[in-house]
Each structure stands twice: as structure tokens, then as C-alpha cells.
């Protein structure tokens, strides 16, 4: 029997290689091998995560987590940008499900509403309008595939080691995290007035940050309007010169 920490490291390494093979790098070499390696890595990782919960009792957690992770991999490895967007949406739905599972109803619903409902639909809109005639090769390739795969998996590795105490209670990296009790949850995220408190916090203490974020978005909107007007103005000039 291997040390749990070694299995985690193995999973992370396999995942890095698998992800690199799966990324669209111009040719179609080794995507199947990469997929198999990725599945093996995911299985190894989950096999060492019994600290997160029991397979049978917390089955919903593992299903949602697997959906979120697989969809996230699909987001970066798809060649068709529209499919990337769809995978991203699925990943968000998985993450929202995880939030719902721990009782953060408002966050879960807001994630779906803002990201999947508004931002991603906008992405799809642009992708569809921007590519009426097939896809350019630069859209279908992942630049710096090796570095991206290494960076992403390094992140997973760091997180795995950091919360190793949760993942595998037998490895002594950290004291295991105590989940909040029912009373604490009832006073926190499960409180019916949680949304009102969140609103009070956002528009009370953090008002300036919210306003700055809003102003930034407004500036982006004005910028987009200027760019659009620039083009239409040029067209009008051309017409008037012809006359």
C-alpha cells in the first residue's frame, strides 16, 4: 500500500500529462491517451479524498464535484469555442450545485443567474456572430499548452497538499477541518435573512467597492459604444464622399 501522499502526487503528475495531451496543440496526437490518463488521475484523486465525505452518504457531493471538474477540463480542451462555452456553463452548474449542497442558496442561484445566465449567453452570442465562416486555426489551438497544463495542475497539487488533512486524515499535514455545526449553519447561510444581511453588507460597509466595480463596467460599456460609433462614423464618411 502506497503512502496516501504519494498517490496524490502520482495523481497530480498523471493529471498534468493527461491535460497536456488533451489540450488542442495544433495536431490531434494523443487525445485518447490523455483522456484515459485524466480519468485515472481523477479516480486516484477521489480515492484519496475520503476525508471529504463518505462515498455513499455524500454521493451527491462527489457526483457534482466530478461534473464540475470534468466540465472544467472540457472547457479548456474543446476545439470549438461554442463547445468551450457550453462546458464552462456545465462547470458553473456543478459549482452552483456544490454551493447549494452546503446551504449557500443565494450564492448558488446568483452563480447560475449571473455567470451562466448573463455572461455566458453573451459569450455565446459573440462567438456565434463572430464566426459565421468556420473557425480560424488560431481559435482552435491552445497556446503554451505545456505551461498552462503545468500551472493548472500545480494549483491542484498545492491545494491538495494544503488541505491534505481533509483529503486523507491519515496524513498529518494539517489538523482536520471541523465542519460547522447545525446551529452555526442556521445562524449563518441557512438564516432566512441571509440575503438581507448580504445586501446590507454590500451596500453598507463595502459600498465604495461595489460602486467602483459598477463604474468600471460602465466605462467598459462606454468604450464599446465609442468603438461601435467609430466604425459606423467611418462608413458614413465613405458614403458622403461618394456622393
Amino acid at each position: 500500500m502506497l503512502d496516501p501522499r504519494h498517490i496524490l502526487i502520482l495523481a497530480v503528475l498523471l493529471g498534468a500529462v493527461g491535460l497536456w495531451l488533451m489540450l488542442p496543440r495544433g495536431g490531434a496526437r494523443g487525445r485518447a491517451v490523455g483522456t484515459v490518463l485524466g480519468i485515472v488521475a481523477l479516480g486516484l484523486w477521489f480515492s484519496q479524498s475520503h476525508g471529504l465525505g463518505q462515498w455513499t452518504a455524500d454521493g451527491m457531493f462527489f457526483v457534482l464535484a466530478a461534473i464540475a471538474v470534468v466540465a472544467a477540463v472540457g472547457t479548456v480542451t474543446s476545439r470549438n469555442p461554442v463547445y468551450c462555452a457550453i462546458w464552462f456553463g456545465l462547470s458553473l452548474l456543478g459549482a452552483a450545485g456544490l454551493l447549494l449542497l452546503v446551504g449557500a442558496q443565494f450564492l448558488a442561484v446568483a452563480t447560475v443567474l449571473v455567470y451562466a445566465g448573463a455572461i455566458l449567453v453573451m459569450f455565446l452570442f459573440v462567438l456565434m456572430v463572430a464566426q459565421p465562416e468556420g473557425k480560424a486555426s488560431c481559435d482552435r489551438m491552445s497556446w503554451e499548452a505545456g505551461i498552462s497544463a503545468a500551472a493548472g495542475i500545480a494549483m491542484v497539487g498545492v491545494l491538495s497538499v494544503a488541505i491534505g488533512g481533509v483529503l486523507a486524515p491519515s496524513c498529518p499535514a494539517m489538523p482536520p477541518i471541523v465542519p460547522p455545526t447545525q446551529e452555526e449553519l442556521a445562524a449563518g447561510v441557512l438564516d432566512p435573512h441571509q440575503v438581507a444581511r448580504l445586501g446590507g453588507e454590500l451596500f453598507g460597509r463595502r459600498l465604495i467597492a461595489v460602486e467602483i466595480a459598477g463604474t468600471l463596467l460602465l466605462a467598459a460599456l462606454v468604450g464599446a459604444a465609442v468603438i461601435v460609433n467609430q466604425f459606423s462614423g467611418r462608413r458614413h464618411d465613405g458614403q458622403s464622399r461618394e456622393q
Binding site: 447560475v112 443567474l113 451562466a116 449567453v121 452570442f125 456565434m128 432566512p192 440575503v195
Partner: protein, 406 residues
């Protein structure tokens, strides 16, 4: 009863009820269309192989059978995966939204051994029910966009582009219309919103008429009903985003459209028309014995039927908007109105009591005076400024070049 069994039972009843309702609402819509246009409508399909006609009540069964037995032909030029997934996305989203729609709650007889009152909703524990409906509704946009794109057909694609722009635009007035109600009742739960109206005895439509108008118009647009059915626009876009669909997948789109209308009717009734409350009939307690609960469900469903009837009559009462007019109504009229309503309600919640005291008005009366006053002012201002008029003037850049064609 174990909770999982209770949930499954509720889901089964909900889906069965919704599917049957959607089928027979199609028949109702055809009857109403016939009535408006002074013709007979479908009145022949009854029991097969006999002469019993049953006023055409067999029509939905025949329609469903026809849809199901159509050949499952997939055009060769489509994106197979998304073509397959898009109708499912919209269908799932349309049904899932009903999970938080409350029909009231009931205390079962003690002999049944259920101590707690049973809430007649699939997901009664969701505190953010209103936002949940919004989130699920925004997922429904995917069905439209992806269906149109995956079909790989210009008409479908135009339909999808129009539709997604329309749905995204009208989500804003829809949300603004709801904000006033949420502010007034202080909760995002649909059953709390009903109880609040039942307790005060004033329906939100009576005290916030401006929000009611904005919400109704936006709900029409979100449901894609005439005069906002631009996504389909049979006469110009063949069939809109589902031009390339047939058989079961087309049926999924059709049923989803109907479910959107039913959901819009439910929301109009629950948020603005008092839900299950009716003066002198239903009381305002949170959980009641089953006869009263049944009465409440009947009142709620009767109101919903009334709203659906209004939807169906509106279909034959107004012509379709032109596309730029549709957008101008959303951005230049509905969103400002919604903002004004939110500001008026918020101001009333903050200063209303002090304002109402010298006039000797109750809170509800004062709110109603403010609400109707604001509606009148908005109406006058919009009529005078007429922000949508510019769309009907000839475009100068085009008229200058008119001679080129000759």
C-alpha cells in the same frame, strides 16, 4: 412518509399535471382563437372508431400521438450534439422552474400521522425562490440560442439571435418589476409574498400598478407570446429558431413555450394578484386544514386560468411589434418605468408612515395613492416625450441614397 418519497410524489404530480395542462391549454388556445375569429375550431376528435366527438377533447391526444410517431429525421448539416441537447435544455429549464411555485400548505388530519404542515411545492425549503426562477429562466435562453445555432440555417440563426437579444433585454424590466414586490414584502420566498398580501388584504397590483404593468409586459416578452413572438415570426423567419426541428424535439420546444406562459401566469398571480388569497374566502393563516387548502388551490388556479385567458386573448388583439420597436419598448420605456417604480416603493417604505400621517391614510391607502399617482405621471411623461417615435421616421442615411436604386 420519508422525505425522498414525498419529494418524488410531488415531482410526479407536478410533471403529470404540467404535461396534461400544456396539452389541454393548446386545445384551449385553439378554441379561443376560433372564438375570436368567429369560426368553430377543433371540435371533431373524440373516441376513435366511433362517432362520439366529445367537443374535440381528443385533439391533444391525437396531436401528441402525431408528434411522437413522426420519423426522427436529423438534417445532415446540423451540429449533431447541440441539435440534440438544445430542446432538452429548454424543456428541463421550463419544468424545473415550477419546483418553487407554491400552491399553499396543508395540515393533514391527525390520523395520518403527519405532524408538520405539508407545503404544496416541490422545493419548499428554498429561501431564494424568486431568484431561482430567474436563474432557471436564464438557462432556458440556451435552448433557444443553441437550437438556432446548431440548426446551421440562416432563418434559425436569425430567430435565435433575435430571441436571445429579446430575452436578455426583457429580463431587466422583469427583475425591476419584481424588485418592488420583494421590497414591499421583505422576502424572496413566493409563499411569504402571498402570505404578506393575504395578511394586509391588499394585492400588490392595487398598490404598485406601475410595477404590475412593467412585469406583465416583460412576462409576455419572456414567454415569447404575441405581440412579442419575434423569435418565431412565422411569416418572416419560416419558423424561427426551431425551423429545422421536427417530431419529439419540436414538441419539446412547443411544450416549453407553453410552460413559460403558464409560469408567467403563475408569477403574475402570485406576485401581484394575491396568489391564493381572496377577500372573505381563504383567510390568511399560514397552514390550514385540507378543505381550506383545497379552496385556496382552486382560487389560485382560477386566477391563473384567468391570466392565461388574458394571454390568449392578447394574442389576437395586437399585431406583432417590429424588432426595433420591441427593443425600444424594453430599453426606453419599460426599464425607466421599472426604475421609477423601485424608487417610489423604496421611498415609500422609508418615509411613507410620516407622509401618510397628516392625511389620515392607512399604509395601504397611502401606498395606493402614491402608486397610481406615479403610474399616471409616467404615462403622461411617456406620452409627451414619446421615446419610441424616432423609430418611425425615415432613416436619413438611407433616404439620401434612394436614387441609387433607380
Amino acid at each position: 412518509m420519508p422525505p425522498i418519497l414525498e419529494s418524488l410524489l410531488k415531482i410526479a404530480v407536478l410533471i403529470g399535471g404540467l404535461m396534461t395542462a400544456a396539452a389541454y391549454l393548446v386545445l384551449l388556445e385553439r378554441w379561443i382563437a376560433a372564438w375570436v375569429q368567429d369560426r368553430l375550431g377543433p371540435n371533431r376528435v373524440g373516441v376513435p372508431l366511433t362517432k362520439i366527438r366529445l367537443f374535440g377533447l381528443g385533439q391533444p391526444v391525437a396531436d401528441g400521438g402525431k408528434f411522437l410517431t413522426k420519423g426522427e429525421f436529423t438534417p445532415g448539416h446540423v451540429d449533431k450534439i447541440l441539435y440534440f441537447l438544445a430542446p432538452m435544455a429548454i424543456f428541463v429549464a421550463a419544468i424545473a422552474a415550477f419546483a418553487v411555485v407554491p400552491l399553499g400548505s396543508v395540515v393533514l388530519p391527525a390520523s395520518w400521522g403527519v405532524g408538520e404542515p405539508v407545503r404544496l411545492a416541490v422545493a419548499p425549503g428554498l429561501d431564494v425562490g424568486m431568484l431561482y426562477i430567474f436563474a432557471v429562466g436564464s438557462v432556458a435562453v440556451y435552448g433557444v440560442v443553441l437550437g438556432g445555432w446548431a440548426s446551421n440555417n440562416k432563418y434559425s440563426f436569425f430567430g435565435a439571435i433575435r430571441s436571445s437579444a429579446q430575452l436578455i433585454s426583457y429580463e431587466l424590466p422583469l427583475g425591476l418589476g419584481i424588485l418592488g414586490v420583494v421590497l414591499a414584502s421583505g422576502s424572496l420566498r413566493l409563499d411569504n409574498i402571498i402570505i404578506e398580501q393575504a395578511r394586509s388584504g391588499t394585492w400588490n397590483a392595487l398598490v404598485q400598478p406601475l410595477g404590475f404593468v412593467v412585469f406583465c409586459v416583460a412576462a409576455f416578452a419572456e414567454a415569447g407570446r404575441l405581440p412579442f413572438d419575434l423569435p418565431e415570426a412565422e411569416q418572416e423567419l419560416v419558423g424561427g429558431y426551431h425551423t429545422e426541428y421536427l417530431g419529439v424535439k419540436l414538441m419539446m420546444y412547443m411544450v416549453s413555450e407553453f410552460l413559460h406562459m403558464v409560469l408567467a401566469a403563475f408569477l403574475i398571480v402570485i406576485l401581484f394578484l394575491g396568489g391564493w388569497h381572496f377577500w372573505g374566502l381563504t383567510g390568511s393563516a399560514e397552514a390550514v386544514s385540507w378543505p381550506v387548502a383545497l379552496l385556496r388551490a382552486i382560487v389560485l388556479l382560477a386566477k391563473v386560468m384567468g391570466a392565461i385567458f388574458f394571454f390568449m386573448l392578447a394574442r389576437w388583439s395586437w399585431p406583432r411589434f417590429r424588432y426595433d420597436q420591441l427593443m425600444e419598448v424594453a430599453w426606453k420605456v419599460m426599464i425607466p418605468w421599472g426604475l421609477i417604480n423601485v424608487v417610489a416603493v423604496a421611498a415609500w417604505m422609508e418615509y411613507g408612515v410620516q407622509l401618510a400621517r397628516p392625511w389620515n391614510l392607512s399604509a395601504a391607502q397611502g401606498m395606493a395613492v402614491v402608486g397610481w399617482g406615479v403610474l399616471l405621471l409616467c404615462w403622461l411623461a411617456t406620452t409627451i416625450i414619446d421615446p419610441t417615435a424616432s423609430g418611425n421616421r425615415p432613416r436619413r442615411d438611407l433616404s439620401a441614397n434612394d436614387n441609387c436604386l433607380e
